[in-house]
Symmetry: C2
Subunit: 394 residues, 2 copies
């Protein structure tokens, strides 16, 4: 089912416990060392001799880092604990897994060691055609409205909405995507067993049911300001482009925007009243970083969609060829009606696949543009509605 050997998966799981994401020693080491050998070395108190020196770092940088990592050795769960996570719907994906989003490679030495996931959708499929909407926690009614509107319009066109799960712009973006029966991905700065903020408990459950929660931090970890900032690079790297919906001058959303800019991903911002401090950050990234002014979903798709993709007056279509689907997913796909709709249980029977696996496949198929959820259940994806009306009214 996967090309990643168990010892490497276990080692990467352990590394998410031992080191903070983006660690400036561990990242470069992972580029040249086997994760299992690294973890064994950490447990032994000294890394294998073949570990290279890190350019531009003091000679004792590695031994010092190892001492820090060893402080958390007791927190690393054993194999049976990890199996327990699986029973809670939590899975771990690593580089090399089919679900690993290869666009994270652009992060180089700061790429995640692994990702903890919870939810029905396939992360890689979901992110192939995705936009991140980010912005202020203290969003105004205007910002929340625009965030939900753009998210819903993206979802209607088969695009996945990425965000960070926070109050304000993030929450409105997730809700907008969910309301349009779309996939949405929440990238968290804490363990996905207890997503922050707790006031979004029901929202996170809804995201897991229809999309996916993702985190670099293992279950049990709580968020910190620094973790939010480190997390933001993953939001920027996963999505094709980033939209700042509403942001004050010191908003963390500008940190995500900077990552998007530095990664050369399309950076967009929604204008607002110049009298609103919550739009000042948007106008600033337009002026200073050349963020593109977007007033609606058409403008966003102008930046992120390739010619022939959704939102450009052409029919939408799957983002991966049917031939690349695994046999189980293909059986589920062939059990889905073209019209009307069917519930997961009906589809499971028709496909001869158990219900849990069917739900997972449906998430992947939705994110891949093959199927969509309508009022009467799941059905094959319809043509994307042609662009109507003026761009400005979108």
């Amino acid at each position: 089912m996967t090309a990643v050997p168990d010892d490497q998966r276990l080692a990467r799981a352990a590394l998410t416990y031992l080191a903070e994401p983006g660690d400036r020693v561990l990242g470069p080491l992972l580029g040249s060392c086997d994760p299992a050998a690294l973890v064994a070395g950490i447990r032994a108190g000294h890394l294998p001799e073949q570990v290279p020196a890190l350019p531009g770092r003091r000679p004792d940088a590695i031994s010092q880092a190892v001492r820090h990592w060893r402080a958390r050795l007791a927190e690393v769960p054993d194999e049976s604990d990890l199996a327990g996570f699986g029973r809670d719907g939590i899975r771990l994906i690593c580089p090399g897994d089919a679900e690993w989003p290869s666009q994270l490679d652009v992060l180089g030495d700061t790429a995640p060691y692994a990702l903890w996931l919870r939810g029905s959708a396939d992360l890689r499929y979901s992110c192939l055609r995705s936009v991140s909407l980010v912005g202020a926690r203290a969003a105004t009614a205007y910002g929340s409205h625009i965030s939900a509107e753009i998210a819903a319009a993206l979802a209607e066109r088969g695009w996945t909405v990425l965000s960070g799960g926070a109050y304000g712009v993030d929450g409105a973006a997730h809700r907008g995507a969910l309301a349009a029966d779309g996939a949405t991905v929440s990238v968290l700065a804490c363990g996905i067993d207890d997503p922050y903020p707790r006031g979004h408990h029901d929202l996170f459950d809804a995201i897991a049911a229809q999309g996916v929660l993702a985190s670099e931090w293992p279950p049990g970890r709580t968020p910190t300001r620094l973790r939010f900032l480190i997390r933001n690079r993953v939001i920027a790297a996963l999505a094709r482009g980033t939209v700042v919906v509403e942001a004050a001058m010191r908003s963390g959303a500008l940190n995500t925007a900077r990552y998007a800019r530095d990664l050369c991903r399309p950076l967009m911002a929604v204008p607002g009243p110049v009298t609103s401090e919550m739009s000042a950050g948007c106008h600033w990234v337009m002026r200073e970083w050349g963020a593109v002014v977007v007033t609606g979903v058409r403008d966003v798709l102008d930046e992120v969609a390739a010619v022939g993709e959704d939102g450009h007056g052409m029919a939408g279509g799957p983002v991966v060829p049917r031939s690349e689907l695994d046999p189980v997913t293909l059986r589920v796909l062939e059990a889905i009606p073209a019209r009307g709709g069917a519930g997961p249980a009906t589809i499971a029977v028709a496909a001869g696949v158990d219900v849990d696996a069917t739900v997972g496949c449906l998430g992947s198929l939705a994110a891949g543009g093959f199927v969509q959820r309508g009022p009467r259940g799941w059905k094959l994806a319809s043509q994307v509605p042609p662009a109507a009306g003026l761009r400005m009214l979108d």
Copy 2:
């Protein structure tokens, strides 16, 4: 007092009656023919033989144009009528006059034949350091507020505010400049004896008292939609840069914006809510024409002010050297107190210049950055206040 011979001035006055501004035959002819000879030819029914053929035009284009122009011959006033305008405070300026704004030369064949003016300020001095604020007649409260705010902030820094005198954004811009004791110029699409709209009667009187009204059309002409559009090129050409404050997608302000872009003058736009149709034109010019996002006066000055000019944390200063002032203006300048302030009558006595001429000189001096009007009357211009606070709060 002027280098323009009387016969040429009379001829150009006549041309403003005979032809519409921007006439595609008259403009090119004026580039190579003497205006007095042209008018004599129109009166005679045929132009002098040395008139060149117009490239790209039918051979009879000129004779046809002459027939059109002759239809209005009866409207051309004689010399005594023109003197009557002078008694009403209306003056005519022509290319070659000291008050002629030479930046109009960029309009080439479509430059105005002459300009009718009413008001105390010197048009050329006023426009040396000017910004045009344009936008929707049906401005929202937001647009009117921002227009007045930016206009007042420009005026406080010694910049002249240009606009078109209409309801909405235009009126708010003029009022904002007047409220800050600044110079403002209204470029009209009708005769300045009866400025349109009549609901702005008091505003136009205030502009004439503290700034200047300008028109390419002679007294008595009423505005038409086409005249507004032709007028817009003059607004764009007179100012250093143009700001679209609020505009719907079909707003005439976008026509002014297009002229500014085509003339390679800085084009700016104020963002607003994407839910407001009145900001849709602003966002459109940002996206399509690269209009710079401006959120306040600091952003505007970033585009139009040269290094060392007002608004860049340096002291403001006159835009022309003192040595270029004419002797009467210089006497008025030397009669103005550095502190407190004095009324025009007091200054007139001190300078030994009659009151009417003193008022005119004060307008020129204010526009030139030499003097300013305060609560206690006219005084020498103070240093421009240093930039304070965050750009975004401007």
